[in-house]
């Protein structure tokens, strides 16, 4: 067992940091010098008159585990004067399991901008972007975790309806149009044309398990829907997916561009983002945006598997006249009690709408601080996040932003972002939900270190309340960013208010 805890700590740290992330980067909400900031509020007009993003070099990646943080695996218990873990005692396990909400989720999201550009025209700003997105999410109810880890008690009902899975992959073509009225008010709209590539989603889940010493009763109603653009999904005579059959892409799909377009048009959807900024006085700005409205309709060879049934287990049946094993037929009965059916009806998958609202105060020309509320709506639950933001623009070519936010159970993560402009070239990097608080590992009264080389080691720490991580990075070509230069011809810069975005 020597060094086993070193490995355990390291594994927890790595797994904790890899189960990270969240969909869109909140930090860039007020990073007006970053063209991509209009993704979070279509009313935001980039500072530069023209931008072109480097093709395939702007991406975002995020992962999230909403339930547990690495620090949830070890804590100091003063009553025992010991460092305990969830498995030290029944009490410690109950404390661990109490951290779970009714429904938890783990999410992976990624996106890449294939092409995007934008330009200003008087008070209007137009931007167009093509991007590819993937989103994988599993939702699981606390009752399932309890059932698996703690077993079941007499006369209990376990609601498993929150057990869901979604895999969504799509291409997005978006046009952003915004208009400003001076520095006071701006609005924006971002209609999106979406082409679905592949989807697997459980829908209409309604599953409950009642357990007692008298009977176990399972009520299940669920639909799993699958579609992959251009892919023929084999089915058997009952309309159920035949996993032993041949999954083949339509051979005529790539015969001509029109075939591709026709096929992609079958799995088409629409989306919409809207937003507004309002600045009643020079030092104060209010903002609000609604994102991710829309859906994809999957009509190209979709398949659905429907599960419906009720099964009651009252005990293994025995009879003096029956010599078969009493437990032999339980699973046969369960199988026969559940009806499985399939169909190829088109279905829809929705996105998870987000409302972001807040404001910022300009402390000086180059520093502003703000507060945002971010609410994301899922089928079975709602995620609420509050973010404190600060943006620094010490130099024209450099800006630095910070956020302090809640994700999961505590306000304990920070976001950092910067952008640098050299000539017309701009690069940026944003990282959010970085650990902010940590537990220090000690040994013999001294901070413990993981040895890297002789005489040099990294202090061993466990991040506290870190549930996710999110990064966005990329390169842009930006032109016409020095509006001050142009305006200086009309009036002194120190009287200008054009630095507000």
């Amino acid at each position: 067992m020597k060094n086993s805890y070193t490995k355990t700590f390291a594994t927890l740290l790595i797994s904790g940091l890899s189960l990270i992330g969240f969909g869109q980067n909140n930090l860039m909400y007020y990073m007006g010098n970053l063209p991509q900031s209009y993704y979070l509020n279509p009313a935001t007009q980039p500072v530069c008159n023209v931008f072109i993003s480097a093709p395939l070099m702007n991406y975002n990646l995020s992962m999230l585990n909403s339930a547990i943080s690495p620090s949830d695996f070890f804590w100091y218990d003063s009553s025992l004067d010991s460092v305990v873990n969830p498995f030290t005692s029944n009490a410690s396990f109950n404390k661990f399991i109490d951290k779970f909400d009714k429904i938890e989720h783990a999410t992976f999201q990624g996106g890449i901008d294939i092409l995007s550009f934008g330009f200003r025209s008087n008070s209007m700003y137009f931007a167009f972007d093509i991007s590819a997105h993937t989103q994988q999410r599993i939702e699981y109810p606390k009752s399932l975790v309890e059932f698996i880890t703690k077993g079941n008690t007499n006369n209990s009902v376990y609601d498993l309806s929150g057990l869901n899975f979604q895999s969504l992959n799509y291409m997005q073509f978006a046009l952003n149009i915004s208009k400003s009225w001076g520095d006071i008010f701006s609005v924006g709209i971002r209609p999106k044309l979406i082409y679905g590539l592949a989807a697997i989603e459980t829908q209409e889940n309604d599953i409950t398990l009642s357990t007692s010493t008298d009977e176990w009763q399972l009520n299940a109603h669920s639909a799993t829907r699958i579609a992959v653009t251009g892919l023929n999904i084999p089915v058997d005579e009952d309309g159920l997916i035949d996993f032993e059959g041949d999954f083949e892409f339509d051979s005529t799909l790539f015969d001509s561009p029109s075939n591709i377009i026709r096929t992609m048009n079958k799995n088409r959807g629409f989306g919409l983002d809207i937003g507004a900024h309002f600045k009643p006085v020079d030092q104060l700005q209010f903002s609000a945006s609604v994102l991710n409205l829309g859906y994809i309709k999957w009509a190209d060879k979709p398949q659905s598997v429907l599960l419906d049934g009720e099964y009651t287990f009252s005990g293994a049946e025995f009879s003096t006249s029956d010599t078969t094993d009493a437990f032999e037929n339980i699973f046969d009965t369960l199988r026969n009690s559940m009806s499985l059916s399939g169909n190829d009806k088109p279905f829809k998958t929705g996105f998870n709408p987000v409302i972001i609202a807040g404001g910022r105060v300009f402390l000086t020309q180059r520093i502003d601080v703000g507060l945002l509320s971010r609410t994301q709506f899922y089928n079975n639950y709602t995620d609420q996040d509050f973010i404190l933001l600060a943006n620094f623009r010490p130099l024209r070519a450099f800006s630095f932003s910070m956020s302090y936010s809640m994700l999961g159970r505590g306000y304990s993560t920070i976001g950092l972002g910067w952008s640098v402009k050299v000539g017309p070239f701009q690069s940026y990097f944003i990282s959010e939900y970085n650990p902010f608080r940590y537990d220090r590992i000690m040994k013999g009264g001294e901070p413990y270190k993981f040895d890297i080389t002789d005489g040099f080691g990294i202090p061993a720490v466990i991040p506290v309340d870190v549930y996710g991580f999110s990064i966005r990075a990329g390169f842009n070509l930006v032109i016409g960013c020095n509006r001050a230069k142009k305006l200086r011809q009309d009036k002194p810069m120190f009287n200008s208010t054009n630095w507000m975005f």
Binding site: W75, W216, T320
Partner: protein, 229 residues
Amino acid sequence: MATNPHKKQKIYNMNMLTKACSGIILLSILLFACKREELDIDKIAKSVELQRDIALPLIIGDILLTDLMGDDADSIITIESQTSFQDTIPLDLPDVVNDLSVKFLKLPYKIMNYMPVGANIMLLSYDSVSNRIIDTIKFAQSGIFLEAAEMDENGNVIEESVLPKIDSISVNTATAENIFKVATHLILDAKIIIKETDIIPVNDKQRIWIKLGLEAQAAYKTYIDFELE
């Protein structure tokens, strides 16, 4: 004298740099100040305890008097001795149960006797390796557990008069641990009790209906011995 606006801007930029640097220093201090607690490796608890509950229906079924008689069954028979029925429930439990400590084990039951004779019921824990009965769990500590059902003038059981026997047996922890750790089978044993030689009409409605459940709580306890250099 007029102020040079460009000179003023330069001074302002320097102030901004000072503020930005101050901000970064403040952030660094804040980061290092946000240590929550110290976890001493030498104080890591070595004990491991996992507790699980289980509540489930175990068996349900009938013991038919006609089946008990086997080939000897007739419309009217004379039972001169005790006749018993046994049904075996295999216990295919994983090895991990060897480290279980059972906190409690209850066997709730509901039994109805539709036979014109009394009966006693027992559960036997059996080890097929050593071919021995380990423990006997009696539903009634003494006397007859199930009284004979009433019959009408035609010799048929009056089913409406049969009352269910509903209760729960609390199994002591030693017996419970034997069931989990040693026994390979549970045997349901039903014995018909004949007080005196009697003539009993037999039909296929004469039966004992049994429903048996299980409610238990057990904990898995062990220690992890480790050393961190």
